[in-house]
């Protein structure tokens, strides 16, 4: 069993410019993913994130915190949500990703377990 962090990225306009029915379709995709993932994996967490113009990035420069408005990397694709799931293997995760909106790029990263450090 491996724990996977899935970050869901898409061009900002995919959500911002989506019609009501497009949004409903995307919402349904997440419900389908959730239902299927519960059958085959354990969903540890999963959230949608507010738009990147609400993000604050902290960097320390010369020991002092410097805040900048916006995400740490400006790019065409923005991270709009995440899932944290426990699955048997990568193929299971990849198959489940097929249920999520196909406009997404989904980065699947295995989580490193650090002994004595478990927040879930």
């Amino acid at each position: 069993m491996t724990r996977y962090f899935l970050s869901l990225a898409y061009p900002a306009e995919v959500w911002a410019d989506a019609s009501e029915s497009d949004r409903a379709t995307m919402h349904q995709a997440h419900l389908d993913f959730d239902a299927a993932a519960r059958q085959r994996t354990t969903i540890v967490a999963g959230e949608a994130l507010a738009s990147t113009d609400t993000a604050t990035t902290v960097r320390h420069v010369g020991g002092r915190a410097q805040l900048t408005a916006g995400p740490f990397a400006e790019s065409a694709e923005v991270v709009g949500g995440f899932y944290l799931i426990d699955a048997d293997n990568l193929d299971v995760v990849v198959e489940l990703c097929d249920l999520l909106p196909h406009s997404y790029a989904i980065e699947i990263r295995p989580v490193v377990r650090v002994e004595g450090f478990d927040h879930t």
């Binding site: 491996t2 996977y4 699955a87 048997d88 293997n89 990568l90 193929d91 990849v94 699947i108 295995p110």
Partner: protein, 405 residues
């Protein structure tokens, strides 16, 4: 070939698969098997070859893995439950030494090494190492990188399999076709590496390229697909010319100048039979392999360069360009059309074409020379020479340039 060399060459993948099925520890299996081979290397000449060399190696490798598992259990100060469990499974594993179960395990191994989540060059190297038992030094030589670089690449691929949870399984009917396409691509990448322009002449690399054909054949024997079958025919036909491609002094011999008696005609016959027996397939990939194999077959069955059916080759390239359009295919088609219909018809197909590397200016230079435009021909040959990083090909281009009076 000694019994040990034969067993490593023919059984390595099966032995890795068998041990992996039992222990599921990719990090231990390869080292344990390599250790067992090293031990056999000193022991067998003294003690005599065992009756069943594969079984001897598996037993020796199992012992090493169990030693490591015990050591790990001790280090973790746990009851050695894992070890007991693994030892228990050893007895079951013996029954799986022959038969279908092992074939399935080998297919699992092939698919794991060529998983699409691995970088293609890592998958290719790992497949040659784990499925075919090629030494890291030889894999490095094939891909023209230092051995340490290749060792690191193989280690990274193995680490990704373990960390990312790439499974040792056979996917369902829907997914397996695509996965075997990746296996084919992985083999083809290794094959073309053997013929890729290198820093110098190296005949051994061509022999190593043959191992890529064996990899595709292993996959095809376990689960045949049109893409794999057509790819095997293509690679076998290309490979059959290896001894005629390079002259004794290391210079490249082009197709029309090759001594056709040096071609491996038994392999050509085998490839043609394979092509005959393989379905064309419906995917663009399978069709593209098949068309390339049919083009190679036209050359392979032509008794002399003059007898080459360039008209048929030009038509096959025209279809290939529809199935998988690319500037490289266009250049190859232009060469065939120039042979069939004259250099002007070939040059017309190259107008406004853009392709990085030396191939396009080399072909333009050749066709311009044939229409008598010596000045433009010189220019193109000169830029081809500047762009070419392969010794033998550059020598050929230079001799063409100096032949232009």
């Amino acid at each position: 070939m000694t019994a040990l060399e034969r067993v490593v060459r023919e059984e390595w993948g099966r032995l890795v698969a068998l041990l992996l099925a039992q222990f599921r520890r990719l990090d231990l299996v390869e080292d344990a098997l390599a250790d067992a081979v090293a031990t056999a290397h000193t022991r067998w000449p003294q003690d005599g070859e065992p009756d069943n060399p594969s079984a001897w190696l598996v037993t020796a490798a199992r012992r090493r893995i169990l030693d490591r598992l015990r050591a790990e259990a001790m280090a973790a100060r746990k009851e050695p439950l894992l070890t007991v469990e693994a030892e228990h499974r050893t007895r079951e594993g013996v029954m799986a030494d022959a038969g279908e179960v092992v074939d399935d395990d080998l297919l699992r191994l092939v698919l794991m090494c060529a998983h699409p989540a691995l970088p293609p060059e890592g998958a290719s190297a790992l497949s040659l190492r784990l499925v075919m038992g090629i030494s890291t030094a030889d894999v490095a030589r094939l891909f023209l990188v230092p051995e340490t670089t290749m060792a690191a690449r193989i280690t990274r691929a193995k680490k990704k399999i373990v960390t990312a949870g790439i499974p040792f399984t056979i996917p369902g009917r829907e997914a397996i076709g695509e996965r075997l396409d990746v296996v084919g691509h992985t083999a083809y990448l290794a094959f073309t590496a053997g013929y890729a322009p290198g820093s110098g002449p190296d005949l051994l690399r061509a022999e190593l390229a043959g191992e890529a054909i064996r990899l595709a054949r292993v996959a095809d024997a376990l689960h045949p697909t049109p893409a794999l079958g057509n790819l095997i025919a293509l690679m076998t036909l290309q490979h059959s010319r290896r001894d005629a491609r390079v002259a004794a002094d290391g210079t490249l011999v082009l197709l029309p100048d090759q001594d056709r008696s040096l071609w491996h005609h038994d392999e050509i016959a085998e490839a043609l039979a394979f092509l005959e027996a393989t379905r064309p397939g419906t995917s663009a990939l399978a069709q593209s392999y098949r068309l390339q194999a049919q083009i190679a077959a036209e050359h392979a069955t032509s008794p002399s360069p003059d007898a080459t059916r360039w008209d048929r080759i030009a038509s096959l390239y025209a279809v290939l360009e529809q199935v998988s359009p690319s500037p490289a295919v266009r250049v190859a088609r232009a060469v065939a059309v120039a042979e069939a219909d004259g250099p002007r018809a070939g040059l017309a197909l190259l107008e406004d074409l853009d392709l990085p590397g030396h191939r396009l200016p080399a072909v333009r230079g050749e066709l311009l020379a044939r229409v008598g435009d010596v000045a433009s021909s010189r220019e193109h040959f000169a830029s081809a020479i500047a762009l070419c990083d392969n010794e033998v090909e550059r020598a050929h281009l230079s001799s063409r340039l100096s032949a232009l009076a």
